[in-house]
Symmetry: C2
Subunit: 545 residues, 2 copies
Amino acid sequence: MLIPQGMAYAMIAGLPPVYGLYASTIPLILYALLGTSRQLAVGPVAMVSLLTAAGVATLAEPGSDTYIALAIALALMVGIIQFLLGAFRLGFLVNFLSHPVVSGFTSAAALIIGFSQLKHLLGISLPKGGHVHEILLAAVRQIDQVHLPTFLLGAGGILVILVARRIDRRIPAPLLAVLLGILAVSILGLDQLGVRIVGEIPVGLPSLSLPALNGSVIQSLLATALAISLVSFMESIAVAKAIQSRHRVDELDPNQELIALGAANIGGAFFQSYPVTGGFSRTAVNDQAGARSGLASIISAGLILLTLLFLTPLFHNLPNAILAAVIMVAVFGLIDYKEVIHLWHTDRSDLWMLAVTFVATLALGIEEGILIGVVLSLGLVIYRTSRPHIATLGRVPGSDFYRNVERFDHLEIRPDILILRLDAQLYFANLNYCKDQIRRQVREKGPALRCLVLNAESISHIDSSAAQMLHDLIRDLRGQGLTIMMNSIIGPVRDRMAAHGLLDLIGADHIQMSVQDAVDAFDAMQGRQPLPEQYSEYASQANAL
Amino acid sequence: MLIPQGMAYAMIAGLPPVYGLYASTIPLILYALLGTSRQLAVGPVAMVSLLTAAGVATLAEPGSDTYIALAIALALMVGIIQFLLGAFRLGFLVNFLSHPVVSGFTSAAALIIGFSQLKHLLGISLPKGGHVHEILLAAVRQIDQVHLPTFLLGAGGILVILVARRIDRRIPAPLLAVLLGILAVSILGLDQLGVRIVGEIPVGLPSLSLPALNGSVIQSLLATALAISLVSFMESIAVAKAIQSRHRVDELDPNQELIALGAANIGGAFFQSYPVTGGFSRTAVNDQAGARSGLASIISAGLILLTLLFLTPLFHNLPNAILAAVIMVAVFGLIDYKEVIHLWHTDRSDLWMLAVTFVATLALGIEEGILIGVVLSLGLVIYRTSRPHIATLGRVPGSDFYRNVERFDHLEIRPDILILRLDAQLYFANLNYCKDQIRRQVREKGPALRCLVLNAESISHIDSSAAQMLHDLIRDLRGQGLTIMMNSIIGPVRDRMAAHGLLDLIGADHIQMSVQDAVDAFDAMQGRQPLPEQYSEYASQANAL
């Protein structure tokens, strides 16, 4: 199964098919020795192959010796970057890729990869590395030049895979298509009709050789290497987690994964391998072939080595159109329309993130798309925290609970006390908004207002700018004759407030354990009732911290 | 007072002094008509002058006709950008400049501006627009070429300003220095000794003329115009707010401010004005001169116009060294060492932001410095939310309060119930961290554990990725035999959870009003006590929302 797949991916990367097989040997063994996921199969994958082609094709003619040397140098660079990221424990970076961004990116990349194979399926020449709409336009313009035998073979291959999969998911459908394709070419002599075939594959193992890495290569490939390092890590970890959750195995160490992937790429680069990872598409292809992971990677690698030694002549007559069919069925299955429907019903702003990433990836390119997605989704997080939810609370009758007056009926609201809950960390980007909202509420409450209670239970952080704002605001509101009470300040915020002198400014007796305690304490200060002493031990512990 | 100041700032901008006076006329009047702050004085300021010089000097020789035309075109572009930002209500963007970033940036800019005047103070020629250390090195190398009369005059000017200010803050110290400087030159004939003076200033009002704006000018000045638009808006709004808080006036509308500043710059550009704003440094100089704001801007503008008509010959003998002295005293007063000391004692991570912005501004440049500061401070916000504080809670004996077990002694902790409080919004960048922490705590609690209570009071948001994570986690933990309870979910989070089907998954009776209710409900489910019904009306309201 690995064999047609590896050859197909090498084709995406613009490399001779045998390099896909080389990349399925040494890296597999190295990952199996160092990785934390026992099931993950490392090797050439569609996305990384596409990124390799996008990065290297600007520097050399695809398939040429220089091109091959650059692709191998790229594997070494990717390996070094991943190894360093792992060694410096930067694996957490992958957390900044949100699910909608990954989904939009994957769908767009699947389209790009799928349509990059259209030329093999139709037997025409199409612009290399062009945008999807350019490829489609060019294909439509050359519709009269489509090579019919090639197209029929390719379409037949797609049909075989889809039907076989429908009948029984355990059938290795792509392998079946490959075998049928080889038979068709051999029996009908389709190559004489102009159907392109894989041709001669060199017999023998990948040889130990030094990757050609120098200053100018590093400079021109650095951006590509960085992109591949992160994307392939993300892909690998996502696949590993998916397998993991199915097998109820726990504790995948992202940094150890990075080190293992790095070692696989570095080691592979010395044996003529281009960049590899653990792959989405491989999982998809494997699933379609009914394969269950658990096969030891080392056995896989051994089989590939045997193939390289003895079986490559068998693949001489394999038509490119069949490889294209295998790729297209696999990657189009990755288009994630279910997530679109799900987000439409549940979270429109996340749907926007998905859509923008999808469009940006198609329109601007692989690396640009993912970068825009990440920046936008982080921007949304910032924007959300910059306009936090502020709830006005009222008392649930007969209880000590206080709830949002806009969401609950029949709450008790006193004219002399305003109770606000700020639902965010307080920091420079939202302090003006919060201040303005508090001032507005104070103004709207009218002249009967005597006390402002800030329920701080959901304030998760306070920075120096916000501390200054709170300082000024408290002085100002006191100047207007208000008593300021706070309650339920969490530990880390209490520490920050202490450092800024805010606890002293507010006063220990004005900081209480709950909204009700704050209200009671205010009433006690007004002489209406004795100060609650009930939990004074804990209140003083809190104030001392 | 405006007069020497305006001339000094024009000098920073690389323009003939009279353009500083032009910029103090029409823009003042336009802002006075449209702005929301009645006290703010708009005109040329140090920072914007420096940015103008940095942007235009790469395109033309300072002081040349082309240079002047470009500076005026820049004012028009800045005006249009500010007007549009205001019209599209994007004034909130200024909130993303944190106080430490502004402080670090201002201190660095003050150093850059101050040292840019060193050549006038010493009477030598120094690299234009160089880094501070380059200027200092060059000055030290030319120490033997310092023009002594110029230096003595400049040093004398600085001394006069500092001493006069020490005696009585109401003395208009810079004006005094200017008068003494003019007298010294006129009486002693210092200009014959090689002391540079302002010289002939054209008599007459600024004339109406069309700014020379075309495609190539727009392209080459766009980055500068954007930087000036934002920096000058920030400066203006900060000054306006400072004045506002002193005068207890409320409600400054940032978008209206942008529109007014935009109009001032657009209108000014048609009367030979370069970019203006309401300024920090002006406030500093005014404070030193003992001036109190409240003088109607229109009167100021009128006085400048009169000066332009009749009084410019008086300034013929004003030495450049005195203008340099005025600038240096004013801007070095802006160096914000107090904030550094304050942050050292209160918030080290904010101190780092300040330091990085300061160093980046000095080393890389004005625009780069502020950009790096903004990106870093937003990055810190993201980083903080990506590793949220998670507290394990225990019961305060004899109460319904639950507090962090790491911060309070003698709390009651049950072996069968784990109570966690997540202090952050739950989103893609922290969901793995949160999940791992929850799993770890569950594992460490041991086999007696029967129930996990998630106190959601400080979860301010949940996105689709986190909802998916929570979904998987709840299923997984239930598979381990745990009961999952949640309490105090705030309204907006409840809405999101409902959309994702999480409320149904958890079950209405598993979502309670408080930690104590959740614990009681769990006990009731175990048959240990009746289910609390006390607040069922509000619980069902919450569940229905």
